[in-house]
């Protein structure tokens, strides 16, 4: 790569090591890239490939056990490692800012927001009497509605989206030349993510700031960046213009990542997702030849002997591969044919007119209101909605962890309403199981895999010790894990393997329904694809039904037979996946769908404000305070009922369905 002097940031042959025990292990090696002024570069790659490590080296803030072992990082022509403490401080004040994941932790819990933002102006040596005004201005710039109030708040009093705006405000207040963003939207709702991304794009257009954008979300990177670097095990495998990288990838790894993503209109009834076999090599592994060879479907002998260089291809692209021209025709790893399913029209679970109210500091919180939903045998129903919309509460009612105040949960013809978990029969408990988002907290880290699964078998099947061990072994092979994992502890397994163990445990009692609460959102795309395939196979084999909670609409579209959209504890829309995604949509679903990062530019619907508190729902339609299609007073006074507008499709809106179709410019159905 040529580095010219007009580059703002130049990283050359960067190597970074971490000290683990007494040994220094290489986490990043020989990484070179540069960012021109006003340019945005994305870094993508699986978890642990070194993205954050590179970013922290640029900020000169590596962990205590980390060090730059070779290479150079130059910002505006100055070597970062050679700056004195005060020069470094000046650089952080004026030239480079950073925003990272988890805004809830990045602000000081015991200092008011206003004061924390004012720091930036103090450091910039703005006269003291201007601070307040400047703080309000900058908060307004990041679209915080009521900045005068927000400055007096403490971080714990604001939502995640608001906090991330505050952090971004602090980062841009000094109009830095370079903004480093490390997963700035991970963990935020899709609607909030879309707004934060919009904000960053607008600010960039306005100030011409250069950006280093790190994300594991390919869609987000594609939307935000001019150029993209693909990182793998601390090495840059490919680099080039974003469009080219995503539409015409020239490295087997990039191709693999893109194929793992459920995109477009694809449904799991049409094809399985492709994945990348194997896992990232461990930190500091010395590998001869190409670092990706072990996972590459087109690996040749030469790949294992020498390491390819990052070679220039046409169109200003680079690929670290001997056979870049063969990457587009990479053979599939997983056969495309989907497993054969048995479908049934018989209802497994029926939830009718179910409500749940919690008590919080003396006032009621309406977590679920009047929910009607049925799940058929062997079917996948997806539940979508922003955080706080009641998805998990509904799941817990179905699992019997919460007892609904009114309504009924009918399971296979038996009324299980006022039954809490303790009074349900063994059969009922066995038939509904759960898999959580974070397998780390769901699995006991001190027990072996054999023990974790074995115990579930004993509890749910009433088998003895021997029988349970045999069954555990079978279950492990059902989730495609080898017997060598039986004695492993969860802490020694990768995220994907842990999730497989959690799934095996859920299947220990041959359940009829498994509630999956964001089962793949903590996983890398290739692992996500494998888990989604696994779930589809298990469903075909065992004829189990899934309630699939997710905020990733592409995943939902791929896995779901039917979709239910929730808002403030109410179902707004229920129908087949095909119908929900085709439209006409409920205005809320319309907004949700438009927020996905892979939507076309300019079609996004901005929702006003934030989701109201469940303790204080608005009068009339619960969505009226944010609805972009509100028709008038009726929305503010009368709550629309959930009505069956078409066979198998229900919607809760005052606007008739054909008018919605016209508004949303869809061709009406015959």
């Amino acid at each position: 790569m040529v580095t010219t002097t007009d580059q703002l940031l130049t990283v050359e042959n960067l190597g970074i090591e971490y000290k683990v025990g007494t040994e220094w292990k290489k986490a990043v090696r020989d990484v070179s890239f540069s960012i021109g002024s006003g340019e945005s570069l994305g870094l993508v790659g699986e978890s642990g490939c070194g993205k954050t490590t590179v970013a922290m080296a640029i900020m000169h803030y590596l962990p205590r056990n980390g060090r730059v072992s070779e290479g150079s990082i130059q910002l505006a022509g100055r070597e970062i490692g050679e700056l004195s403490a005060s020069e470094l401080r000046r650089m952080r004040v004026n030239q480079v800012s950073m925003v990272y994941q988890d805004p809830g932790k990045s602000l000081n819990p015991s200092i008011r927001i206003g004061r924390q933002v004012a720091d930036v102006f103090e450091l910039m040596e703005v006269p003291k009497d201007e601070w307040d005004g400047r703080v309000i201005d900058i908060l307004r710039k990041v679209q915080i509605a009521d900045p005068e109030r927000v400055v007096r708040r403490y971080p714990h009093q604001l939502s995640g989206g608001m906090l991330q705006r505050v952090v971004i405000a602090m980062a841009i207040a000094s109009e830095p030349e370079l903004l480093v963003l490390d997963e700035p939207t991970t963990g935020l709702d899709a609607t909030v993510e879309a707004e934060v991304l919009d904000l960053i794009s607008n600010l960039r257009a306005e100030t011409g700031t250069s950006v280093l954008f790190i994300s594991h979300s390919l869609a987000v990177i594609r939307k935000m960046c001019d150029r993209v670097g693909v990182l793998y095990a601390g090495r840059l495998l490919a680099e080039g213009p974003a469009e080219a990288i995503f539409t015409d990838p020239r490295h087997p790894y990039t191709v693999g990542l893109l194929r793992s993503l459920p995109t477009g209109e694809l449904s799991r009834n049409e094809a399985q997702l492709d994945t990348i076999p194997g896992t990232l090599p461990p930190l500091g592994a010395e590998i001869q030849g190409c670092i990706y060879a072990d996972r590459c479907p087109i690996v040749q002998d030469v790949c294992r002997e020498e390491e390819p260089d990052l070679v220039a291809l046409d169109g200003n692209r680079f690929s670290r591969c001997f056979f870049p021209e063969r990457a587009p025709d990479l053979p599939r790893v997983v056969a495309p044919d989907p497993p054969v399913r048995q479908r049934s029209e018989e209802t497994l679970l029926d939830i009718s007119a179910t409500s749940k109210t919690f008590e919080q500091e003396g006032s009621p919180v309406f977590a679920l209101k009047d929910v009607d939903l049925s799940i058929r045998i062997g079917e996948t129903v997806a539940l979508v909605g922003e955080s706080g919309s009641g998805k998990s509460t509904l799941a817990k009612v179905i699992l019997g962890i919460h007892v609904p105040d009114e309504g009924a949960v009918i399971q296979l013809g038996e009324d299980v309403l006022h039954d809490s978990l303790h009074s349900r029969s063994g059969e009922e408990i066995r038939s509904v199981q759960m898999v959580f988002q974070n397998p780390d907290s769901a699995l006991n880290r001190r027990h072996s895999v054999r023990r974790i699964i074995g115990r579930a078998v004993q509890r749910l099947r009433g088998l003895g010790r021997r029988g349970s061990h045999d069954r555990a072994r079978d279950l492990l092979s059902e989730v495609r894990m080898g017997h060598q994992h039986l004695t492993a502890k969860p802490s020694h397994l990768s995220g994907g393997l842990k999730q497989r163990v959690a799934i095996a445990r859920a299947f220990a009692g041959s359940p009829a329904l498994v509630v999956l609460d964001e089962p793949t959102s903590a996983l890398d795309v290739s692992v996500q694809a494998a888990i989604i395939n696994l779930l589809a196979e298990l469903q075909a084999e065992e004829n189990v039904a899934y309630l699939f909670i997710s905020h990733d609409l592409n995943v939902v579209r791929y896995v779901a037979d039917r979709v239910a959209v929730m808002y403030l504890g109410r179902l707004m829309e229920v129908g087949t996946a095909e119908r929900i995604f085709r439209g006409p949509h409920h205005p809320y679903s319309e907004a949700l769908l438009s927020a996905a990062p892979d939507r076309e530019e300019g079609t996004r619907i901005r929702l006003k404000g934030e989701i109201p508190a469940a303790s204080d729902p608005p009068p009339g339609c619960s969505f009226q305070t944010r609805c972009h299609r509100k028709i008038g007073e009726i929305c503010e006074t009368v709550e629309p009922p959930l009505t069956e507008a078409e066979p198998g499709y229900s919607i809760r809106c005052h606007i008739p369905i054909d008018e919605l179709a016209a508004l949303q410019q869809l061709v009406p159905q015959e």
Binding site: V93, N94, S110, D119, Y154, Q157, V167, M170, A613
Partner: protein, 317 residues
């Protein structure tokens, strides 16, 4: 906030009530009745009955308890059998003496421990850190009677810098009292220093590695400001809780130190009461110690929440 304090007080009262029941039952469950235990196996049954009637120990247990706790609430804990004086008077004087000793120990150890913890955290992995951590830990495991005896031999007997007893002559000046109390305070300081510096160190390290300290540093705040405003403010919170919880330890430590240095404090008094089977004194003493413990925990919680906006300001507004 007020609600929080009220709830906290309620909890403390319930704990004290349970403690009082336990103490009461404990003193009753020993073999034989009270009169027999006091007068011994050779007294006549008549004399025993007579004493029981005088002490009121011939009535139903529940009545006795009601009587005792009713008095306790009004500050009357009955009379000590061995000293033939009101329990509350004895306890009051002993408590005052112990408080003096405890205050001297805390005034020395808290600043020292906190400062040591902060230094250790800031110089993590360096010799300063090792010295403080290892030194603190070693000091913690030395029993008070060992360090106490060594101190007496070295500083009182050989060097004669400090008096060998903690009890000053009556009506001594503040300086004289202090002079007497420093040596007995040191065994307590040695034990507490390790705890306090370790908790402080852990808190400071956690804050140093937090995301908000990273944010502050990357904003360009100077290092001293980061440490003072971002690190210490959040890191010292847990320390407060630990310091308060050490009041419990202190009472155990006081028994040894007070006996060793011949000091009329609460530890010494309880020790005597237990030896002489003086049940009213023992029960009253345990109750008062329990109350002192609860009050210090309560103060710690209030201080903690005053410093912590998460509790002070409540949830989302």
């Amino acid at each position: 906030m007020t609600r929080f304090v009220l709830r906290r007080i309620g909890l403390a009262l319930i704990t004290l009530f349970l403690l009082s029941v336990l103490v009461f039952i404990g003193t009753q469950l020993l073999p034989g009745d009270v009169g027999r235990r006091v007068l011994g196996p050779f007294a006549t049954q008549e004399a025993v009955d007579d004493l029981n009637a005088r002490l009121g120990t011939d009535r139903a247990l529940i009545v006795q308890y009601g009587d005792w706790i009713g008095g306790a609430v009004q500050g009357d804990l009955g009379d000590s059998i061995s000293f033939s004086r009101p329990v509350s008077e004895l306890l009051g004087r002993a408590l005052r003496n112990s408080a003096k000793l405890a205050v001297v120990a805390f005034v020395i150890v808290v600043p020292l421990g906190v400062f040591g913890g902060i230094m250790a955290a800031l110089r993590r992995g360096k010799p300063t850190d090792r010295l403080i951590t290892v030194g603190g830990l070693s000091a913690t495991v030395i029993p008070e009677f060992v360090s106490g005896i060594v101190l007496i031999i070295v500083f009182a007997v050989w060097l004669d810098w400090f008096p060998g007893t903690a009890t000053p002559p009556p009506d001594s000046s503040f300086i004289t009292q202090l002079h007497h109390l420093i040596l007995p305070a040191i065994p307590l300081v040695l034990v507490l220093f390790g705890y306090i510096s370790r908790i402080t160190r852990a808190g400071v390290i956690e804050a140093l590695e937090s995301d908000y300290v990273r944010t502050a540093t990357l904003k360009g705040l100077p290092r001293p400001t980061v440490i003072r405003r971002e690190v210490l403010r959040n890191a010292l919170l847990p320390t407060i809780a630990v310091v308060a919880s050490q009041v419990g330890y202190l009472i155990g430590g006081l028994v040894v130190v007070e006996v060793l240095f011949n000091y009329q404090g609460i530890g010494r008094l309880l020790f005597d009461a237990a030896q002489k089977a003086d049940f009213p004194l023992l029960a009253g003493g345990v109750l008062v110690v329990g109350a002192a413990f609860q009050i210090s925990m309560l103060l710690a919680d209030v201080a903690y929440s005053l410093l912590n906006p998460r509790i002070r300001v409540g949830g989302k507004a």
